[in-house]
């Protein structure tokens, strides 16, 4: 199974109140609390998706990262909905929202928080937005296991289960957060990078 068959055609990082795409900063605001930072970025990019406001912070972070990742870098009509999937991982699962939901159970348990008490919901939000219907997987890992994710995604692509895959790390716990997403495709487009563990590690180390 040759990893060189697949390419990172776009990548996006959100951390420390900075959003970067393909290594270039596209948004930065240092003073806001994390939830306000997310809303500020949403407004700056002029996204129109009212459901964004209802999402928990994990889904907001993942949704924002995916929008920026795909913007001007992905053509939906290139693939059938079943050919695009998502593979994500994080360390804190949905704990950020679990704690908030637990607080509401002392009074009136919030249905809108309850629906976000699973980490994979963020993938659902991205799929609903983009009408992706390919295979999804969400792994809870202490640290981003680059080897595992790279092999898992290559397996999906090389076995034609998927033709394109969004993969990466989306993690939130209160004010601590980190998002890194990679768009991995089979085509070797301009400025694309082979989807190797070395290149993934290299991108991670720069963000």
């Amino acid at each position: 199974m040759l990893a060189e068959n697949n390419y990172i055609t776009s990548f996006c990082d959100i951390s420390d109140h900075v959003i970067s795409k393909n290594g270039k900063t596209v948004f930065e605001i240092k003073i806001a609390a994390f939830p306000d930072f997310l809303i500020s970025a949403y407004h700056l990019f002029d996204f129109k998706y009212p459901k964004f406001y209802k999402m928990d912070n994990l889904s907001k972070l993942g949704w924002l990262a995916s929008e920026i990742l795909l913007k001007n870098s992905f053509t939906h009509t290139d693939y059938k909905p079943e050919e695009v999937g998502i593979v994500l991982a994080n360390a804190n699962s949905s704990l950020d929202t679990d704690l908030k939901y637990f607080e509401t159970t002392k009074d009136y348990a919030s249905p809108s928080l309850f629906v976000y008490t699973l980490p994979n919901i963020v993938m659902g939000e991205i799929c609903i937005r983009n009408r992706f219907k390919g295979e999804n997987a969400f792994f809870v890992q202490e640290k981003f296991d680059v080897n595992f994710i790279q092999q898992y995604v290559n397996n999906l692509l090389n076995n034609n289960i998927l033709q394109a895959c969004i993969c990466g790390w989306i993690d939130v716990l209160q004010e601590d957060y980190k998002a890194v997403l990679f768009l991995v495709e089979k085509k070797n487009a301009a400025e694309s990078i082979p989807f190797t563990t070395e290149n993934i590690e290299n991108i991670l180390s720069k963000n």
Binding site: P50, Y53, D107, S112
Partner: protein, 87 residues
């Protein structure tokens, strides 16, 4: 101006996190679901919580939901008909 209708609109916007909508933009008879405000099934559950939280009213029969939550006005009518006297 009916204060119950005004209060309900504010509570709906707050409870459902409708940040792109102002309370005054919601019509008294405007459908809350589908073609109106576009609320979904989770929003319906939040409206049930809203009734309990703010008006101490439990929806007695789930089948009444579509009628009760059709619009702000139908919600207000239900509250007036069912609100405990000491609430």
């Amino acid at each position: 101006m009916d204060t119950l209708l005004t209060d309900l609109k504010k509570q709906i916007v707050e409870q459902l996190n409708l940040q792109d909508i102002k309370p005054e933009d919601i019509g008294d008879d405007q459908p809350l679901f589908v073609e109106g405000l576009g609320l979904d099934s989770i929003d319906a559950l939040e409206l049930i919580v809203l009734l309990q939280q703010h008006y101490k009213i439990k929806l007695a029969n789930a089948e009444d939901g579509p009628k009760v939550f059709h619009s702000v006005k139908t919600m207000a009518d239900y509250i007036r008909a069912n609100q405990p006297t000491n609430a």
